[in-house]
């Protein structure tokens, strides 16, 4: 037990990094995903096709590859070549990748809304943006809560991929201690931390689903 208390500080520090990556990714990729979804369903065929290609690329290649590319290869790409420090590089990869997944969730949600809702709004004088903001998206949120919950929980665990950029997240912190002390206890503690994080998320999403169930 004392040993567990001993290793807590570095593991908590690692959890901090994990939570940062998680939170920043979520806050940035949800709006980006929504924007991509709206472009994807827009009347502009060219833009829609472009977004479609982007989503295909992001979902069709491993997130780890994307992260390695942004960190190691992006500096050598002509014109846009920039060298990002590890943390921003990781965030960028996560945001670009998760936005693609969120875009597909939003798109499916938006398309599931009955045409009558648009027509009902239209004959009352709503513009398209007003219809989206006031009528469609509030209903979409309720419908996409289950898949969003899934993705969000996946994101918690995906954050461990940043170990390839040698960042000290929860998993890497645990592994460091395992190698130092020849004990697997840090892995067990790390697993418990992940479980607590996903438990909190699951609970949060359940609360949201209950809140949105009032109008069923």
């Amino acid at each position: 037990m004392n040993y567990v208390l001993d290793i807590l500080p570095p593991l908590l520090e690692g959890t901090g990094v994990t939570l940062q990556v998680f939170a920043i990714t979520l806050v940035l990729s949800i709006p980006l995903g929504l924007a991509l979804a709206l472009l994807r369903i827009s009347r502009f065929g060219f833009v829609s096709g472009l977004v479609n290609g982007y989503i295909w690329l992001m979902r069709g290649t491993p997130l780890m590859l994307q992260m390695l590319f942004i960190y190691f290869a992006l500096p050598f790409v002509p014109v846009i070549g920039i060298r990002l420090p590890d943390f921003p590089a990781a965030i960028m990869a996560f945001v670009l990748n998760y936005a693609a997944y969120f875009a597909e969730i939003f798109r499916a949600g938006i398309l599931s809304i009955d045409r009558g809702q648009y027509e009902g709004a239209r004959v009352l004088g709503f513009t398209y943006p007003q219809t989206m903001r006031r009528i469609v998206l509030p209903q979409v949120i309720k419908r996409i809560l289950p898949p969003m919950s899934n993705e969000t929980i996946t994101l918690v665990k995906d954050t461990s991929l940043i170990y390839v950029l040698a960042m000290n997240d929860l998993l890497r912190a645990a592994r460091g201690i395992v190698q130092r002390d020849f004990s697997t206890t840090p892995f067990v503690v790390a697993a418990a931390f992940y479980l607590i994080m996903t438990l909190v998320l699951t609970y949060g999403f359940q609360r949201l689903e209950k809140k949105y169930a009032v109008y069923d």
Partner: protein
């Protein structure tokens, strides 16, 4: 004051792909008139209404609402719609009630009614709530004020939809089979509300299969078939002595 038509539709043509749905429909609606549009399924009744309020676009013809041109067709046969802002203003003179209500499920009854006045007209909540409550009393649903639509019967939903349309203070109301999705015992309450509107001289165009309503409330009856208006007469005459054989066949089927 010159008598100006509330709706003036001239020679409307509309097709979906190769299918011609409106083949030159013309209709003038005067202030305070109640027009019943009847006809077999697929005859273009809904499409006609939807073209009037710009849910569908026409391919030829002219539509004027209270003297303002929504769309016109030049000598070369090309259709010209008004600019978007004008379309919005012109169509804002009309409200529409749908067969399937199209209430906003995430909003309560009151919110359904005040949403458009607030978002579209920029009215404040305090301004519109008394109006909305008065409308709810008028359609007999004041006690359902804070209930979500899912808790309402079909008849109640449709009355909320009527109140919602009225909250935008339209000059004209279009109804597309407002009672067709309702259980028979619930049609009466909706028809009663519509009858009251007619008595207040609301201008209405009503697509309906309720022949009794058409006979008693409508000033004129339009019979559509195959994308044309086949017969158009004052309601009493229409039912007393339908002229066209197809009208007669249709009416015999309905009774």
């Amino acid at each position: 004051m010159t008598e100006q038509a509330m709706i003036r539709a001239v020679d409307l043509h509309k097709h979906f792909g190769p299918v011609e749905v409106l083949k030159g429909v013309s209709l003038d609606v005067n202030k305070g008139e109640v027009i019943a549009v009847i006809g077999p399924s697929g005859s273009g009744k809904s499409t006609f209404l939807r073209c009037l309020i710009h849910l569908e676009t026409i391919h030829r013809g002219t539509i004027e609402i209270e003297g303002e041109t929504l769309v016109s067709t030049d000598a070369g046969g090309h259709c010209h719609y008004a600019p978007d802002a004008d379309i919005r203003r012109i169509c804002g003179k009309m409200g529409m009630v749908f067969q399937h209500f199209n209430l906003f499920p995430h909003l309560t009854v009151l919110q359904n009614i005040i949403e458009a006045p607030m978002t579209v007209k920029g009215m404040s909540r305090d301004e519109i709530v008394p109006t909305a409550e008065a409308l709810l009393k008028k359609v007999g649903l004041f006690d359902k004020r804070d209930v979500f639509p899912s808790r309402l019967s079909g008849g109640q939903k449709q009355r909320v939809a009527i109140a919602r349309a009225l909250a935008m203070a339209p000059d004209i109301l279009l109804f597309d089979e407002p009672t067709s999705a309702l259980d028979p015992e619930l049609t009466g309450e909706v028809l009663r509300t519509m009858r009251e509107l007619a008595e207040e001289h609301m201008t209405m165009v009503v697509v309906t299969h309720e022949m009794a309503f058409a006979r008693e409330v409508a000033s004129r009856v339009i019979f559509m078939d195959g994308g044309n208006i086949v017969e158009e007469r004052p309601a009493q005459e229409f039912f007393a002595a339908p002229e066209h054989p197809r009208t007669r066949a249709f009416l015999e089927n309905m009774l």
